[in-house]
Symmetry: C2
C-alpha cells in the first residue's frame, strides 16, 4: 500500500519537498492508514505532517474517545496535533444546509485555517476507491453528465487524496498487517445519510445481484471519464482562445461563425465554460438555461436577449455572441445633441462652442480647441459616453482601435471611462474630449469648410 | 405522443417514404402503442407496416393467447402479420448462451428474414425511456465507459426506436386515452432476468430513497454522453485520416509522432478504432490489452511486438506503429544469392544467367533478358519475394511506387504476389521478374559496364 501511495504522490504531484500536509484524522481505518502511509513516506520525502481532528458534536462520549485516541496516537508519533469541537447540527440549521454539508464546511474551514497559520500547504483526506464508487453512484442517481462521472480527483485545489485508488478491503488488510489501532465511527453504520445508504444497502445489493466487482467497475468508469473530460475541456479551451473576440470582467464576445462550426456537445460545454469564465460558478444554471443559450446562438437573431441566472444576459449582435454580467455599479450614460454656437450641458458641467471658420490661418489648436473638416461630418453631432464596442481612428493611424484599448493605453481608470464625453456624428467618434481627435475628420488639402469646436468645464 | 414520435422520425431520419417497417409486436403496452402511433403516422407519411410476433415457447397457453390477440389486431387494422414459434430455452442451451440472448437472436433473425423477403427496410422496436434507464444501470453495474452510457440509439443499423424518449408512464396514458387493448407479458413481472430485477427492484428502490426522477436523470446522462461520444469519435476519425500511413485488409501503419501527440484518452480511443477497422470487432479485448498497446506505442522500442486477441499483433518500427492481422495463408518467403554465370533455384524452378558484356550493339531486350548498368549495383545480388513496404522506381518514372500498388496496377492476384521473384541488390529492387525493371539501374550515356541477365522457368 505504501508503494502505491508513493507512486500516486509522484504521478499526480501531490506532495513536494517541504510541503505542509494537514491530515484530516477521524481515527477510523481510512484516515489512520493514510496517516501511517504518509508517516513512512515522510522519511523518504521531506515534508511536514500535521494532524487535524474535528469533533462534530453529535456522538457525545464516543466522539470524545476518538478525540483522545487521535491525540494520543499523534503524541506517540510526535506529529503536531490540532483539534476543534463544533456542533454540525446546529451550524447546519443556522445556515439552512444539511448536517452533512455543515460537517464538511466546518471541517475544511478548520483545515484551511491551520494551513493559513502554517503558511500554506495541502489538505490530505482519506477518500478511497469505495468512496469514489459511492460518489459515482450518488451522482448517477441524482443526475450527472460525464463531467460528474470522473468523480473525485487525486488532487483538486489544495486537497489531495493519496489513497483514492485503494479499496476499503486493501485498507483493512494494511491495518491488520501493520497492527494499527483504529476507532470505529458508528455514524458510518446507520443508513441515515445518503452516502451511508449507498454504502450499506445499495452497493451490497449490486454486489450480490449484479456484479461482485462493482467497486472496480465504477473505478474504471471514473478513470476513463476523467481522461475524456480532460480532453474535452482542453479542446474547448483551445477553441475558446480562437473564438473569443473580447473578454472582460463582465463581458465575453464570441465569434458566432467559429462557435457555430462546433458540434452540439462541444457547444454546450463551451457555453458552460463562458459562464464559468465570467462568474466562476454555474450556480442556478440548469440544462434548460444552456439549451436556451444554445437556441439563441443558433438562431442568431440580432437584438434578441435572454436573461440568465447569476445576473447574466446573453444576446446576439450580427455575427457576435455576447454574454454580459450586470455591473455592480451601472453608470447611466448620457447623449446630448449639439448645435452651432454655444451649448451648455449642466449635468456634465460642460460648455461647447461650435463655429464655422473660413480663415485657414491662425489656427490655435489646443487641448480644448480642435478643427475639423465640416464636409466629412454625417448627420447630427452628439456628445455621449462610450458604448460597448465603440471604435476610433486616432490621428495619424489608418486602422481603427477599440475605445476600450485606447483608454487602457492612456491609463484612464476603469471607473472614469464611462464618463468621458465623446463627440460623435451619425457614424463615428470624432473627438474624445480631453484626448485625441479622429483621423477621419481631420483637415486635409481638400478641406473647404472648417468646423472649430471649443469646450470648457464650468467647475 | 404521436407528435413526439413524428418528430423523432423526422429528426433522426427513422423512416422514409416507401420504407418497409417491420414492427416487433409482443402485444404488450409498449409495442401496441408503437403500432398505433406508426399506424396513424402512416396516413401522413407513406410507408408499409408489417407486424411480426414471436412466440418464444416458454409461456404455453398464455403465449398462445398473445399470438392470437396480435393476429386479430393486425387483421382488424389490415396490417400484414407474420408469426413464428421458437424454443428460446432449447436454442440457448444449444448455443451456450443465456435464454435472454437466445430470444433476442431468434427475434431479430425472424425480423431480418422478413425484411429480406420484403426487399429491405427497417425493424421498429418499442424500447422506451425506461428501457434506456434500465440499460444504463445494467451497463454501469457491469462496467462501462462513456461509450456505453449513450445507451440505445434512435437508429442503429436497420433497427429504429421511434418511442425511445417516451416514458412507460406516458405510454400507459396513451394506451388508456386511446382505449387500446393490450396483453400483459407475465415474464416481465418476475425478477428472474437481470433486466427485470433492475426494473422491479433496483429502480423502485432508487426512486424511493434517492431520486424519484431517476428515469429522467439517466435519460439526460444518455443524451449528453451520446453527444460527447459522437464528438470524440468524429475527432478520432479525423485524426486517424491524418495519422494513417497505410491501411490494408490485414495491416494498419500509423505515424508514431502524430499518434504520440494526442492525449491519453484519445490514444486509447484511437487504439480501439484501429482494432475495429482491422477486425470489425473488439471481442476479447480488455482494457488491459489497450494499456499494453498504449505502453508499446509510448515506449517506441523498435522490434518489440505484442500478441493480441483476434490474431492481431502490434509492433513498432522506428516512427511507425504497426498493427497486423495474421494472414489466413502465410507464405513462407525465399531469398537466394546470385553469382555471375549460371544460377539454378530448384525451389523456384528458375534458372538465371548473368554475364558482363562490352558489346553495346545487338541488344536483344526481351521479357526474359534485361540489361543493367553494372556500376549502379551496390553489394550482392539476390532473388527474393516481396517484403512489407517494398518500393520500386518503374522504368521512365522519377518517384518510387509501392510494390503493392504496382502489383495492383498489373492486376496480379493477391495470392500470387508473394511468390513473384524480385532481383534486388543491397539497396533496391532492380527487376520484378516477368515484369518491369527499375529506372535506377537502366543503361544511360555514362554506362561503361553492362550486366545482362536472362532467366528461364524450368517447368
Amino acid at each position: 500500500m505504501i508503494s502505491i501511495v508513493l507512486e500516486n504522490i509522484h504521478r499526480y504531484n501531490l506532495i513536494t519537498k517541504g510541503d505542509n500536509v494537514v491530515i484530516g484524522l477521524s481515527g477510523g481505518p481510512d484516515s489512520m492508514a493514510l496517516l501511517y502511509c504518509l508517516y513512512e513516506i515522510q522519511k523518504e520525502l521531506d515534508f511536514n505532517i500535521v494532524a487535524a481532528h474535528v469533533n462534530h458534536g453529535v456522538r457525545g462520549e464516543d466522539a470524545l474517545i476518538d478525540q483522545l485516541f487521535t491525540e494520543d496516537v499523534c503524541n506517540r508519533l510526535k506529529i503536531p496535533y490540532h483539534t476543534i469541537n463544533v456542533d454540525m447540527n446546529k451550524y447546519g440549521k443556522e445556515k439552512g444546509i444539511t448536517a452533512e454539508e455543515a460537517g464538511r464546511e466546518l471541517r475544511y474551514g478548520f483545515f484551511r485555517n491551520l494551513l493559513k497559520d502554517l503558511g500554506g500547504g495541502k489538505i490530505a483526506v482519506a477518500h478511497n476507491k469505495n468512496d469514489q464508487a459511492e460518489t459515482l453512484l450518488m451522482r448517477i442517481m441524482r443526475g450527472t453528465g460525464i463531467d460528474g462521472l470522473k468523480g473525485m480527483e487525486f488532487k483538486s485545489g489544495d486537497i489531495i487524496r493519496p489513497i483514492l485508488n485503494i479499496s476499503r478491503d486493501e485498507i483493512e488488510k494494511f491495518i491488520k498487517t501493520n497492527d494499527i489501532e483504529t476507532v470505529l465511527d458508528k455514524t458510518n453504520l446507520f443508513p441515515i445519510y445518503s452516502r451511508n445508504k449507498v454504502r450499506l444497502e445499495l452497493i451490497p445489493y449490486i454486489e450480490k445481484n449484479f456484479n461482485s466487482n462493482i467497486i472496480e467497475a465504477l473505478w474504471r468508469l471514473s478513470q476513463t471519464s476523467s481522461l475524456d473530460v480532460e480532453f474535452l475541456d482542453d479542446y474547448c479551451e483551445k477553441k475558446f482562445k480562437l473564438m473569443v473576440k473580447e473578454i472582460q470582467d463582465d463581458c465575453i464576445i464570441i465569434d458566432g461563425d467559429l462557435f457555430g462550426s462546433e458540434q452540439k456537445g462541444i457547444k454546450q460545454r463551451l457555453l458552460r465554460m463562458f459562464v464559468l469564465k465570467l462568474t466562476g460558478s454555474l450556480q442556478g444554471f440548469t440544462e434548460q438555461h444552456i439549451v436556451l443559450m444554445l437556441d439563441l446562438f443558433t438562431e442568431l437573431v440580432t437584438g434578441k436577449q435572454i436573461n440568465l441566472p447569476l445576473g447574466l444576459t446573453a444576446r446576439v449582435s450580427y455575427d457576435e455572441l455576447i454574454i454580459e454580467r450586470e455591473r455592480s455599479f451601472k453608470y447611466e450614460g448620457f447623449e446630448y445633441k449639439l448645435g452651432m454656437g454655444e451649448n451648455y450641458f449642466k449635468d456634465l458641467n460642460l460648455k461647447f462652442k461650435l463655429s464655422l471658420i473660413d480663415n485657414y490661418d491662425g489656427f490655435k489648436m489646443g487641448k480644448d480647441r480642435k478643427y475639423f473638416d465640416f464636409n466629412k461630418i454625417r448627420g447630427n453631432l452628439y456628445i455621449r459616453n462610450r458604448k460597448f464596442g465603440d471604435v476610433f481612428v486616432p490621428l495619424g493611424m489608418v486602422g481603427s482601435k477599440k475605445i476600450k484599448d485606447y483608454f487602457i493605453d492612456k491609463k484612464i481608470p476603469r471607473d472614469k471611462r464611462d464618463r468621458i464625453p465623446l463627440l460623435v456624428d451619425g457614424e463615428d467618434i470624432i473627438w474624445i474630449i480631453g484626448y485625441g481627435i479622429s483621423d477621419r475628420y481631420k483637415i486635409d488639402k481638400d478641406t473647404t469648410k472648417i468646423l472649430m469646436i471649443e469646450y470648457k468645464y464650468t467647475t
